[in-house]
Chain length 344, copies 2
DNA sequence: CTGAAAGCGCTTACAG
DNA sequence: CTGAAAGCGCTTACAG
């Protein structure tokens, strides 16, 4: 019988040491840690003092392993360029820190998004925040049923069939902004759809509803598609610039697309908003960094992510409740300088 | 003696089940998992097949708890607006996924950064990536010695005394860009220092070296301070706009500051670069999203973070080696449209 | 090359 | 209200 020594890898303070110093069992320390009401005040204080004195910090891994409860939530991230994810990251961070959860970030490959979601889902996280447009893809693929962890969709363009989501009312937002443009006298409206996502269709419906109310329709030639990235906006704007019969205003699918259009118009010698008006979407930081500043639809992304994180954690703590509710967050039309009052 | 039932919280496949199906011990499964070369090929295959068949995924928490090895690294995050952190996040993500580490993100409060670093350091992570300017603060405060986990500084403005770092040579970069401006005929150079960080002083030294070589000095009135954020640039640009004796070119401390200056100059009726040239720093996405596009110094932030993550993981795996080396990453001067050839 | 056993630091029933 | 014991799913020495 040889002595078997296992050196502790890190010289961390354990619960046992706190218990010893406080003169209680580890159970009591655990109860104090988890704010169980049953511990007597004086004992609680003794434990708290011992924790303080030893600078005790619970080991998250041990906690996760022992506990039936969850502590880690994952967020899929795509790329930096995407200001949307940056804002969402902030909101998710805020809520997760507040509620004592760890936030694990992982990027995914756009060539095999579903595989990456599946791999992430089983990598030791307890719940998953799914940003757009990935959440629509996952939800409508039906894979979420096969995955063993709860998920929530962030800002999908439509209600999701098998997971809860937090979103704005895209149809209404598009309707309202279109009405605003009509009130300013715009009639030739251009619309940029976001491909591969429901949101394009949803917003288009809102635009058409506003037009329909005035007996107008959208000119098919003025409907384009572009990914919500600056580069895509650049390519699209080049085409628009060369048209001889241009819309008087363009409803871009994102602020990045709108900013790119503004940039190209400058180079084309067209003035914004005198010659052409541009409307963004999201109200990300770029909206006020360019000149002229963008009139846009504010989608409170940080707030959406924060609420979604709270909702996800709630789902983790109540595994049996229903799972496909929708929380709507109000949007806001932000008027700045990129839309003219009296269109050409 | 009552039966004590502990229901498994999640119906996950464990190593024991894989071992049973493969007809081996859990040890062998563990060895296969960790790619130990000692396992016989046919057994290895049996284990692999069993894993596949059961769709086995190792429990990260258990692994972390049992292992002396590390699997989690942390990154402190400040705010979305900061494109620098966005780029760094990408690089850190890339390296951590590749090397099989989890990346935990946490935000910190600028009112008590050191407290938040300390709290994060003991929250169950094994190593910490510290972005600028926090890394300078932490390093020069001497707190890193008290913290039990390895840290690495990302893009500090100077070499750090007690932790390794990955950075560009800021002095050289500032020197080179100043030489370029001098070659283009600029003499009245304005410089924006970043406050609360060594980097401002470091870059200023580079500017002064280039000027000194030509027998010139920097006009004290043309040295300003601004935090590397758009709003700070706006306030500064307002002041510059009102000067009657303006520099012919401004070396901004970040692309965000530069973009804000460009924006305000537009509003002031000044043309960039005809009336005034602007140089950014970092080459973040904003640099090409505004008009005119910014001439800037590219600091490969994603690459810096990626290298730093690799270096940190290496430090985790070799705890005894020295700890304050510096890895230099090459910078690059990117010439675009915001600098004139023939200054006013 | 392989496995039985101990251990990582916590939480969960259970008994008192 | 409190604690002894079992257990979470892995890895680490060690012996064979």
């Amino acid at each position: 019988m040889t002595k078997r020594v296992r050196r502790r890898s890190k010289n961390v303070v354990t619960m046992a040491e706190v218990a010893k110093l406080a003169g209680v069992s580890t159970m009591t320390v655990s109860n104090v840690l988890n704010k169980k009401p049953s511990v007597l005040p004086e004992r609680r204080q003794a434990v708290l003092d011992a924790m303080e004195q030893l600078n005790y910090r619970p080991n998250v891994a041990a906690r996760a392993l022992a506990s039936a409860g969850s502590i880690r939530i994952g967020l899929l991230y795509r790329d930096v360029e995407n200001a949307i994810l940056g804002a969402m990251l902030l909101g998710a961070l805020k809520a997760s820190v507040r509620l004592g959860f760890q936030l694990i970030i992982r990027s995914y490959d756009e060539a095999k998004p579903l595989d990456d979601v599946a791999a992430f889902a089983v990598s030791g996280i307890d719940g998953l925040l799914v940003p757009p447009p990935l959440c629509e893809l996952v939800s409508f693929s039906g894979m979420s049923a096969k995955l063993s962890i709860p998920m929530i969709g962030l800002a999908p363009g439509t209600n999701l069939p098998d997971m809860p989501s937090v979103r704005i009312d895209d149809e209404l937002a598009a309707y309202e902004v279109t009405r605003l443009l009509l009130d300013k006298g715009h009639r030739r409206i251009g619309f940029v759809k976001l491909p591969g996502a429901m949101v394009g269709q949803t917003r288009l419906a809102g635009v058409q509803r506003a037009l329909g109310e005035r007996g107008l329709t959208l000119d098919e030639r003025f409907i384009w598609e572009a990914r919500p990235m600056y580069e895509a906006g650049l390519a699209l704007a080049d085409r628009i610039c060369k048209m001889d019969d241009r819309p008087s205003v363009i409803l871009a699918g994102s602020d990045d697309i709108a900013a790119a259009i503004v940039n190209v118009m400058h180079r084309c010698g067209l003035h914004v908003p005198e010659d052409i008006s541009i409307v963004g979407f999201d109200d990300t930081p770029i909206a006020v960094k360019i000149w002229p500043a963008l009139t846009t639809v504010r989608q409170p992304l940080a707030r959406i992510a924060e609420q979604a994180t709270e909702r996800l954690i709630q789902a983790l703590q109540n595994p049996d409740e229903p799972r496909n509710d929708v929380i709507f967050i109000p949007h806001e039309i932000v008027q700045r300088a990129s839309v003219s009052e009296h269109p050409a």
